[in-house]
C-alpha cells in the first residue's frame, strides 16, 4: 500500500509540471508501428523502450535491429539497435538509434532498467544521451535526460501503463511527452490496446491497436492514431529464435511509413 501511495504521489506531483513537442525519441519497432504505437502497456522487445517498466515482463536475452522509413524517404529514416538482458531480477535494456542523413542526424542512446513491486506494479527508468549534429554553421548539441514508466496489472487481463519522457523541459528546453495506455488481453490470441499521448506543443493523440495471433507463428496487427490521423497495419512471423515484424503507418496526406524489425532471442 505504501508503494502504491508513493507511486501515485510521485505521478501526481510530477505530472502537473510536465510539459510536452515532437518527441526526440522516435518510437521504434515494427510490431509497435503495426499497432499505431498504442503499446504503453503492451510487452514487447521495443515496447521496453517505449515504457521501461515493461522490461520486467521480458525473459532471457533479446537482441534486435530495426529500421523505419518515414513516408518512404531515406533522409527521414531511422535505424536502431537494442538489447534487453533479463536474466536476473533486474533486467537491463540498452538502445542506440540513428535518425537522419549525413547532413543532419540525431543519435539517441539509452540505458534503462526496471523493477517489479508487489501487487502487479512495475517501475522502470532510462537515462538518455542525445546528440544532434547538422552540417554547415549550425551548432551541434547534446543533452542528457531521462524517462520513466510504470505498469500496473488492474486485473488478470487488463494492464495499465504510464510513461513520461524528459520531465526536465524547464532545464534542457527539450520537449517532453506523457503517455498512458491500457492493454486488454481478451484471449491468449487477441490483444486490444488503447493509448493516449501528449507531447509538448502537439495535440493530444489517441491510439488504439489490435494484435491477433492467427496461427501460432503468424500475428496480424492493426491500429489507428488520431494525431497525425493515420491507420496502421502490420504482421509478424516467428521461426525459432528469430522473429520478424513488418509495420506500415498510412497517412492520407504524407503517405506511408514502413518499419521492419528483426528480433533474436538468446535463451
Amino acid at each position: 500500500m505504501l508503494r502504491w501511495n508513493a507511486v501515485l504521489f510521485l505521478y501526481f506531483v510530477i505530472a502537473p509540471v510536465l510539459r510536452a513537442g515532437e518527441p526526440l525519441y522516435i518510437p521504434h519497432g515494427a510490431a509497435e508501428a503495426g499497432m499505431a504505437y498504442a503499446v504503453t502497456a503492451t510487452p514487447g522487445h521495443w515496447s521496453c523502450f517505449n515504457n521501461q517498466a515493461l522490461m520486467t515482463s521480458a525473459s532471457g536475452v533479446t537482441v534486435s535491429a530495426a529500421i523505419e522509413t518515414r513516408f518512404l524517404m531515406p533522409a527521414l529514416s531511422s535505424k536502431g539497435l537494442s538489447a534487453v538482458i533479463a536474466h536476473g531480477r533486474v533486467p537491463l535494456g540498452v538502445t542506440a538509434v540513428h535518425y537522419g542523413n549525413a547532413d543532419y542526424y540525431r543519435i539517441m542512446t539509452g540505458l534503462g532498467s526496471a523493477v517489479s513491486l508487489s501487487g502487479g506494479v512495475s517501475l522502470g527508468v532510462q537515462a538518455d544521451y542525445i546528440t544532434e549534429r547538422a552540417s554547415g554553421d549550425y551548432r551541434d548539441v547534446s543533452h542528457l535526460t531521462f524517462e520513466a514508466g510504470m505498469v500496473c496489472a488492474l486485473s488478470s487481463s487488463v494492464t495499465l501503463g504510464l510513461h513520461i519522457f524528459n520531465p526536465l523541459t524547464a532545464l534542457n528546453s527539450l520537449p517532453s511527452s506523457i503517455d498512458a495506455g491500457l492493454q486488454w488481453e481478451r484471449t491468449e490470441e487477441l490483444l486490444l490496446t488503447l493509448s493516449c499521448s501528449k507531447t509538448t506543443s502537439e495535440p493530444v493523440s489517441i491510439q488504439c491497436g489490435m494484435s491477433w495471433d492467427v496461427a501460432g507463428h503468424l500475428t496480424l496487427r492493426s491500429g489507428y492514431m488520431t494525431s497525425p490521423s493515420s491507420f496502421a497495419l502490420g504482421l509478424g512471423w516467428e521461426t525459432g529464435p528469430l522473429k520478424t515484424d513488418l509495420g506500415f503507418i498510412v497517412n492520407s496526406i504524407t503517405g506511408v511509413t514502413s518499419a521492419l524489425t528483426f528480433i533474436w532471442t538468446i535463451k
Binding site: T187, L190, S222, S229, L233, N251, S252
Partner: protein, 640 residues
C-alpha cells in the same frame, strides 16, 4: 451475454441504420437514404421468416452476404427452429452487430403449419401528405403515393405511383401519376430461378458496377464493409433514380448463377441545343425526381439509357467468384462543362462498357473480399477488404479502395465516402467489441484522398471521419447509447476570381440516446445531441423526447415527439429520425431556433387494415425570420 431484443420500442425501427442515417446526412449532403430506408421499411412490414429454412426467404435480408444467408439456412435445416436471437449471434459469420441489424426485420415464428405463402400476400398502401408554411418556401399541394404489392409463391407483382407536391396528375402525354413504376416477377424452381419484367435493381460483387442499395456504404459503424449478397430484385421504391426498366433473368444450377438483363429507361438530364434548337448533347443528369418548375419539366426524360449486361458467378462454401459485364448506350452524348473544375474528368461520349470481377473467400472468423473493375472509356477501380472475428465478441473490418477519377459506372454503389463512382482513394477500419457484460463499443475511422476537384472543392483534398459508439443495454427494456462522430473535409474559400483557397471544416457531434420501457405498452426515448463546427465555431444543440403508447384495449398506437433545437446556422444542423408512415421515412433537419412536435396515430380497425395519421408542427427562426410549418399525412394499408 447479449442485449438483443425485438420488443416494440419508441422508434418503430429500432435499428442502428437510423442512427447512422442521421449522422451521414449531417456530414454528407449528397447522401440519399430514400431507397435504403424504403427497402428496410418493406422488410419491417413483411419480416423474413428465418425458421422456414428457405434460402430465398432468408435472402430477402439483402444486407446479408451469401455466406451469412447460407449459414443461417443451414443452421435452421440442421438444428430446427431458432428460438432466440442469442443463438444467431453465435453462428459463424454472424456477430452481435449483425444480429442487431437483422432484429427488426425477422420473425422467429416456427416453421410448419403456416400456409401464408400458399395464395400469396397482397398489400395496398395509399398515402397522402401535405405541408403548409408561412414563408411559402415549399411547393403547395399534396404528395400522393400508391403502392400495390403481391408476393406469391411463383408470381409476384407490384405497382408504385407517386406525385410530388405540385406535380399534376394527368393522362396528357403521361401515364397519370408523375412517377409510375411496376414489375412482374416469376420465380421458378428449375434452371430459370427468376424472371423480372418491369423495374428492378441489381447488386453485383462489391458494388463497383451495380449496387442499388448501398447499405454498407451508409455507415462506418456498419457490422461489415462487405456488400450484401448478389441480387436481382424487383424495384418498388418511390425514388425516381437508380433502377433499371426492362427484363432480368436469373438462371441457377447448383452453386452457379447467371444473370442476364436488358434495360431501357428515360432519365432526366440537362440538355444542350444546337443552332436549330434541337437537343444535341447532355451536360449533366438530374436526380431529384421533382418536376414542378419549368426547367425541371423541360429536363424530364431527355435522355434514353439502354443497358445490357451479364453476370456469371459460382463457387463453393469457401469461396465465390463472379464476373459482371455491361454495355450502356445513351441517346445523346455527354458533354459536361469543362470550365468547371469538378467536371473536368466527367464522362464524355454516349457509349460505356464496364467489366468487373469479384472474389470472396473464407469461413467463420476470417473473410476476404475484393472486386476490380474497368470502364471503357475511362480507367479502373478496385476495392478489397477483410472481415475478421478474432474472438467471440470482437469483430474487425478493414477496407482499402482506389477509384480512379476517370472510372465511370452510372449504377455503382461501392463502399466510399463521397458520391459518384470514382475520384477517391481511401482506407477504412472498424472494431466492434463487447467490452463487458451488456456494454458494446464500436470504433471506426475512414481516411480518403480525393485526387481531383470535387463539388465545392477545386483542388485535391482529404476527407477523414472517425466514430466511437457505446451502448449499454442492461435490460431489454433499457438502453443507453452514446456516440461521438468527427468528420473533416476541405472546401473552397472565397468567392472572387482566381483560384480559390482551401479550408478544412471539421464537424464534431456528440449524441446521447436513452430509451426505456417503464410499463408494458409504453416506451420512452430521450435524445440529446451537440454539434460543433470548426473553424467557424458554429454550434448546435438538440433535445428530443419520443413517447410511444400502445393501448391494449383498443387497436390503437400513438407516437408523440417534442424536439427543441438551437443552432448558430445551417452548417451545425442536427437530425433526429422520426416515426412516420409505413413504407416511408422522415429525418427532418433542424437548425436555427427550432421547435418541432408531432403526433401520429395508428388504428387497426380490422386485422387486415391499418390507418395512420400524422400531424407535425415546426416553428423555426433563422436570421430573424420566423417560419411556421405544418405537415399532415394520412395513410391506409390493406393486407390480404
Amino acid at each position: 451475454m447479449l442485449g438483443i431484443c425485438v420488443a416494440g420500442r419508441c422508434q418503430e425501427q429500432e435499428s442502428s441504420i437510423e442512427d447512422a442515417v442521421e449522422e451521414i446526412l449531417a456530414t454528407n449532403g449528397d447522401y440519399d437514404p430514400a431507397v435504403l430506408l424504403e427497402q428496410l421499411s418493406d422488410l419491417k412490414e413483411c419480416p423474413v421468416h428465418i425458421n422456414y429454412g428457405d434460402e430465398k426467404e432468408n435472402a430477402r435480408l439483402f444486407f446479408l452476404t451469401e455466406f451469412q444467408v447460407m449459414v443461417l439456412t443451414d443452421h435452421v435445416r440442421r438444428n430446427g427452429n431458432v428460438v432466440s436471437l442469442y443463438e444467431l449471434a453465435l453462428l459463424p459469420a454472424f456477430d452481435r452487430s449483425t444480429v442487431m441489424l437483422m432484429a427488426p426485420y425477422i420473425s422467429l415464428q416456427p416453421s410448419g403449419g403456416s400456409d401464408d405463402k400458399r395464395y400469396g400476400r397482397t398489400m395496398i398502401t395509399m398515402t397522402a401528405s401535405s405541408r403548409f408554411n408561412t414563408a411559402d418556401t415549399d411547393e403547395p399541394g399534396a404528395r400522393t403515393l400508391l403502392k400495390v404489392r403481391h408476393d406469391g409463391n411463383r408470381i409476384s407483382y407490384g405497382i408504385t405511383a407517386e406525385n410530388d407536391p405540385g406535380e399534376p396528375f394527368t393522362f396528357r402525354k403521361a401515364m397519370g401519376p408523375d412517377f409510375l413504376s411496376g414489375y412482374v416477377m416469376f420465380q421458378g424452381k428449375g434452371l430459370i430461378s427468376s424472371v423480372i419484367i418491369g423495374d428492378y435493381w441489381l447488386r453485383a460483387g462489391e458494388g463497383l458496377l451495380f449496387n442499388g442499395s448501398a447499405l454498407q456504404g451508409s455507415s462506418l459503424s456498419s457490422p461489415s464493409f462487405m456488400a450484401g449478397r448478389n441480387i436481382a430484385s424487383p424495384y418498388s421504391s418511390s425514388a425516381e433514380t437508380g433502377f433499371f426498366r426492362g427484363i432480368c433473368l436469373t438462371a441457377t444450377h447448383d452453386d452457379y448463377h447467371a444473370v442476364f438483363f436488358f434495360s431501357y429507361r428515360l432519365i432526366d438530364a440537362g440538355v444542350m441545343n444546337d443552332a436549330d434548337g434541337r437537343a444535341c448533347a447532355v451536360s449533366h443528369l438530374i436526380t431529384g425526381g421533382i418536376h414542378v418548375t419549368d426547367y425541371q419539366r423541360e429536363s424530364r426524360d431527355n435522355l434514353g439509357e439502354t443497358v445490357a449486361g451479364l453476370r456469371l458467378s459460382g463457387g463453393t462454401n469457401h469461396y465465390r467468384v463472379g464476373v459482371t459485364s455491361s454495355a450502356t448506350l445513351f441517346s445523346l452524348p455527354f458533354q459536361p462543362d469543362m470550365t468547371v473544375p469538378d467536371k473536368i474528368y466527367m464522362f464524355t461520349g454516349d457509349r460505356l462498357l464496364n467489366v468487373a470481377a469479384d472474389f470472396k473467400a473464407g469461413t467463420g472468423p476470417f473473410l476476404f473480399f475484393t472486386e476490380a473493375a474497368v470502364s471503357l472509356p475511362g480507367s479502373w477501380a478496385a476495392t478489397a477488404g477483410i472481415r475478421a472475428r478474432p474472438s467471440p465478441g470482437v469483430t474487425f473490418n478493414i477496407l482499402a479502395r482506389h477509384l480512379s477519377p476517370q472510372y465511370y459506372a452510372f449504377h455503382a454503389g461501392a463502399f466510399r465516402t463521397g458520391s459518384g463512382s470514382g475520384n477517391e482513394t481511401g482506407l477504412s477500419a472498424s472494431l466492434h467489441v463487447e467490452a463487458a457484460r451488456h456494454l458494446f463499443i464500436i470504433a471506426a475511422a475512414d481516411h480518403c484522398r480525393i485526387p481531383l476537384p470535387r463539388y465545392r472543392c477545386s483542388a485535391p483534398s482529404v476527407v477523414s471521419r472517425a466514430e466511437i459508439k457505446g451502448e449499454y443495454r442492461p435490460h431489454e427494456n433499457l438502453s443507453l447509447k452514446i456516440s461521438y462522430t468527427c468528420s473533416s473535409r476541405e472546401y473552397d474559400t472565397g468567392s472572387g476570381t482566381g483560384t480559390p483557397g482551401s479550408e478544412t471544416r471539421t464537424r464534431n457531434q456528440f449524441a446521447l440516446i436513452f430509451s426505456c420501457s417503464p410499463l408494458s405498452g409504453l416506451s420512452l426515448v430521450s435524445r440529446a445531441a451537440v454539434s460543433s463546427i470548426s473553424p467557424s465555431g458554429s454550434q448546435g444543440f438538440l433535445l428530443c423526447q419520443d413517447i410511444c403508447l400502445r393501448i391494449r384495449t383498443v387497436p390503437v398506437r400513438l407516437w408523440f415527439r417534442y424536439a427543441l433545437c438551437t443552432t448558430d446556422d445551417y452548417e451545425s444542423r442536427l437530425y433526429a429520425y422520426e416515426n412516420d408512415m409505413l413504407s416511408s421515412f422522415s429525418v427532418p433537419a433542424m437548425y436555427g431556433e427550432c421547435t418541432r412536435g408531432s403526433l401520429m396515430i395508428s388504428w387497426k380497425p380490422f386485422g387486415h387494415v391499418e390507418i395512420r395519421a400524422k400531424y407535425a408542427i415546426e416553428d423555426m427562426e433563422e436570421d430573424h425570420q420566423r417560419v411556421l410549418k405544418h405537415e399532415i399525412k394520412g395513410q391506409m394499408r390493406v393486407v390480404f
